[in-house]
Symmetry: C2
Subunit: 171 residues, 2 copies
DNA sequence: AACACGGCTGCGAAATCCGTAGGTCTCGGT
DNA sequence: ACCGAGACCTACGGATTTCGCAGCCGTGTT
């Protein structure tokens, strides 16, 4: 049937401290719960409990804790194209000075979906979601390049999205 | 209070065909429903109904349809770091020949979270999620560079994730 | 030993979900 | 003009789920 996760109780309870990097530690059962919710964010607690070998209430408490801790969130994700956003691009940014401040400024823009500081020939990568070419042009040229400290940018306009998963932790 | 979406009934019902690009058309009410679920994927239908001005059953039917059509999915998303993936990178790929086939090959790799074909100095951008440096190195050098048609790659190792939203359609 | 703490179970009440029947409006065919 | 099909909504009762809480059990501390 569905692979039960049998976890010795005592082992579970020992594992509920923080690991050294300050992140909450996740045991096998919590990972299994996350996997269930990655398949269907609305799956009932009782069904999850049956799959991972826990009571409904226990699953509910764990899920609530994972949400509170910010380990996961349960959200609707959409295909941008069907929601009316026809132009997307990844923008590589070269910056000088306070790079993190620039990353914060990018994060404040609503058209910017994703910001990450990187090592390599770009200091920052930012994903932009726009309604049309004019909108995209405006964001890149007028707003991003105008930020103080931005030395140069390079844009990669999306032609075709091939894969997009939310399956972290499910391998 | 919370901004009600008042939609003239007749206008709604007219709007439920396919738009010319084959994508299901979304009216204001469906967008409002999506917004609600982007804030909390488990929000009860009745609460959503109150917010968007529809009955519980109507919301339920719309949500089901949006899921069936693939317009959205309700899933748990996690912070990769807390789930044990410590190294991430964006890889830009230059390719020759059948670029789409290469993108497909990348998509088949479980470590590859995100693949997009682009215009610009890279043909493909791929996001890699790995457990450690060895794993990352292995994926990039042994598996990606080994693909026939891959001319060159450039990697951007993630230093700090600054923003990651799932708020498409919410502006 | 006693106690605090974290985590699990069990249970009853409240809230939610689900299927379905029935109404309205629009469009298309006869 | 009329009728039927289809899309979408509301209403409603029964099944299911969620929720809060009391109680229990290991573990670690004093």
């Amino acid at each position: 049937m569905h692979s039960e996760v049998v976890a010795s109780r005592s082992a579970d309870q020992r594992d509920s401290r923080e690991s050294r990097n300050g992140n909450p530690h996740l045991d096998a059962v919590s990972l299994a719960i996350i996997e269930q919710l990655q398949q269907d964010g609305r799956r009932p607690y009782a069904a999850i409990g049956k799959a991972v070998g826990l009571s409904e209430a226990a699953v509910r408490q764990r899920v609530q804790k994972l949400l509170d801790q910010g380990v996961m969130q349960i959200v609707a994700v959409t295909d941008p194209l069907t929601v009316g956003f026809r132009r997307q691009a990844m923008v590589g940014v070269n910056a000088e000075g306070d790079v993190e401040a620039i990353a914060d400024a990018l994060s404040d823009m609503s058209e910017v979906e994703y910001v990450v500081m990187t090592a390599g020939s770009f200091d920052i990568l930012a994903e932009i979601v726009c309604e049309d070419d004019d909108h995209l042009l405006d964001v890149i040229n007028k707003r991003i390049r105008a930020l103080p400290g931005v030395r140069s940018t390079e844009s990669f306009v999306y032609l075709k999205l091939k894969k997009q998963t939310y399956m972290w932790g499910t391998r």
